[in-house]
């Protein structure tokens, strides 16, 4: 078990390393002189040279990569030219809003997806099932910003939010002021989680242990919640981990619609002003969150489902070398149903 966790952590570090490299490459590949772009056309050559020296643009690429990583390790994300403040300060200011919005959206996704999936799975391909699936697919086809516009038209409430942020998006009474943006994100991403849960409930219901439980006289609700639902949780939680990146995408756009002072708005301002360091900082932070949450999802699945635990134990036996493990993993994946 510890072996498994250690190897997963190594995987996570490699993934993060690649992400940082991608983001670093973006900065390296900027056509022209980044310092010139940052300072604008009116800057003097001396100013540009000073900024180049400060950013370390005149050094070799290996030195640049090294300093980039060591700065990151020390929590230094650079300096924002647009706001004239350290990036880390700006991020810590804006992060709570985005995080709250994303969590609120997740709350809506969970409380809507579970009952809908159970309802839909009761009779596969019945009228109710088809209705639920088609309406959730339709919601999936609606981009989050259009969903926000539709919700505004339906509820006719956030007229004020449209005209310059008169609705207070303070975190004090957050549950009241944030429900509409959160619902807009949740509805447009609901279908993914729901389909996963519905399919796995249908799949689990056919299995032998469910028939045994019914044969032993367990009530319908008991079989549903204690046997089927518990085992369907694994794909559902995995799906939630996969949706996370999409929810962050959604919240960045929705913040723009409702003028919430979160990461999304700083990001758009940063991109418009070509403030590279702030852009990179926000992208890296969100990618780190996504990677970390998916790592946690793997661990949670271990604790929920003993079968996964056993499988991983076999796969990560101490005798297995890296190559053998990759081979076994491939074999396991090929046996898996699509």
């Amino acid at each position: 078990m510890t072996r498994y966790i250690v190897k997963k952590i190594i995987d996570m570090i490699i993934t993060i390393f690649i992400i940082v490299l991608i983001v670093f490459a973006m900065f390296e590949l900027i056509p022209g002189n980044p310092a010139r772009i940052m300072l604008g056309m009116n800057a003097s050559n001396a100013q540009v040279a000073a900024l180049e020296a400060e950013l370390g643009l005149d050094k070799s690429i290996f030195v640049k990569i090294y300093t980039y990583f060591s700065d990151l390790f020390n929590g230094d994300l650079g300096f924002s030219f647009r706001f004239q403040r350290p990036v880390i300060e700006l991020i810590t200011e804006a992060l709570p809003y985005t995080l709250f919005l994303a969590l609120y959206a997740f709350f809506f996704i969970i409380i809507l997806a579970i009952p809908l999936a159970i309802l839909a799975a009761r009779k596969p391909n019945s009228k109710l099932d088809n209705f639920i699936r088609i309406s959730s697919e339709t919601c999936l086809a609606i981009p989050p910003f259009f969903m926000a516009i539709i919700l505004m038209l339906i509820f006719r409430t956030s007229q004020l939010a449209l005209q310059g942020g008169s609705v207070d998006f303070d975190l004090n009474n957050a549950f009241q002021s944030y429900w509409m943006p959160a619902l807009a994100i949740a509805l447009s991403r609901l279908a993914m989680a729901m389909e996963f849960l519905r399919d796995s409930i249908i799949e689990q219901r056919e299995s032998d242990y469910v028939k045994t439980a019914i044969g032993k006289g367990a009530s319908r609700s008991r079989v549903m919640f204690f046997h089927i639902f518990r085992n369907s949780l694994v794909p559902f939680i995995t799906a939630l981990g996969l949706i996370l990146a999409e929810v962050f995408s959604g919240s960045i756009i929705i913040e723009q619609v409702f003028l919430i002072p979160g990461l999304g708005r700083s990001l758009v301002t940063a991109v418009e002003a070509r403030d590279f360091q702030l852009t990179q900082g926000i992208v890296l932070l969100i990618a780190f969150i996504v990677v970390f949450v998916n790592f946690c999802v793997d661990l949670i699945n271990q604790f929920i489902d003993p079968r996964i635990r056993e499988q991983n134990k076999k796969l990560y036996k101490s005798r297995n070398t890296f190559f053998l493990r990759m081979k076994n993993q491939a074999n396991l994946d090929s046996q898996k149903k699509r």
Partner: protein, 299 residues
């Protein structure tokens, strides 16, 4: 030939084993539903296309022609989709955005599918270390939300159609790679692959001549889905005002402009969105039908 014999055996099994009779019944219903879904999808995709073809012939207003007296009109015979806050005709504007949307979406999917198929095929067929490296790469790309990658690209390379296509194309690689990889993993241990290897076929021949045709409908399904996702991503970027250049009209930008006047001019804020939804839903249906067909034709 192989496919048909496989099917026959399957049917014989079903006749011998009464428990499997239900499958015999569902098989045809699956095909029927695939046909039905394909039909619905094509109709949904056809609506915007027909409207676009009409707009090529019937052009009552200019794209930027303002008409201050006709602001915030609802849909009527004069203005099919109503007018926006400057009195510009929404139908003409929305239709002028149709070709660029389709072009960007196709470009994104071409990049994603081309590189994704290569990466997926290599990592699925050879497995092992190559698979590990590629799966770390795809995992890294999947962890960056698509919009963020688009924004990062735009911040480095500036606004532009090519930038959007390349940035989002890169982000579409992992999803295609995953699909192709899972298909290849499924078939790589099969006897026919082993026999081909023993007969001395090269890996390239097995991959392109034997394995790719098997996952064709799966790839088509992914392409249809990717087409819709690309439209969603592109419209999100233009909604933020950072996708294609400002002088180019797109549905996302029209929605952004109309957003401030939602309650005065409903039609300007609704119709571009409906066009997005119709195209995306249409490709969802087409994608589903290919998926069902794939399950039906499984070897």
């Amino acid at each position: 030939m192989k496919l048909t014999t496989g099917k026959l055996n399957n049917n014989l099994d079903q006749i011998r084993n009464p428990k499997l009779k239900r499958d015999l019944y569902t098989d045809s219903s699956v095909l029927n539903s695939a046909r039905k879904q394909f039909f619905i999808g094509v109709i949904l995709l056809g609506i915007p296309l027909i409207l676009y073809l009409i707009s090529l012939i019937y052009k009552p207003y200019g794209v930027t022609e303002m008409n201050p007296l006709d602001r915030f009109q609802g849909p009527s015979v004069k203005h099919w989709f109503g007018t926006d806050n400057y009195g510009r005709d929404v139908f003409v504007r929305a239709m002028s955005a149709f070709p660029i949307t389709i072009f960007v979406s196709l470009g994104i999917n071409f990049i994603g599918c081309f590189f994704g198929s290569i990466i997926g095929a290599l990592s699925g067929y050879f497995a092992g270390v190559l698979d590990y490296i590629f799966s770390r790469l795809t995992e890294a790309l999947l962890s960056i939300p698509m919009i963020l990658m688009g924004l990062l690209f735009v911040s480095s390379f500036g606004n532009g159609v090519i930038q959007v296509i390349v940035a989002l194309g890169i982000m579409f690689i992992p999803s295609y790679a995953r699909i192709v990889r899972s298909g290849f993993l499924e078939y790589r241990q099969r006897n026919f692959v082993k026999r081909l290897q023993l007969l001395g076929s090269s890996s390239g021949r097995i991959i392109f001549k034997h394995l790719f045709p098997l996952i064709k409908s799966r790839l088509l399904s992914a392409l249809a889905l990717g087409f819709s996702n690309a439209i969603l991503a592109e419209s999100s970027l233009s909604f933020l005002g950072l996708g294609v250049p400002t002088d180019q009209i797109t549905w996302g930008r029209m929605l952004k402009d109309a957003q401030g006047f939602v309650f005065q001019g409903v039609s300007a804020a609704i119709f571009p969105g409906i066009l997005i939804v119709v195209i995306v839903l249409g490709s969802f249906f087409v994608s589903h039908s290919f998926k069902l067909r794939d399950q039906e034709n499984k070897l």
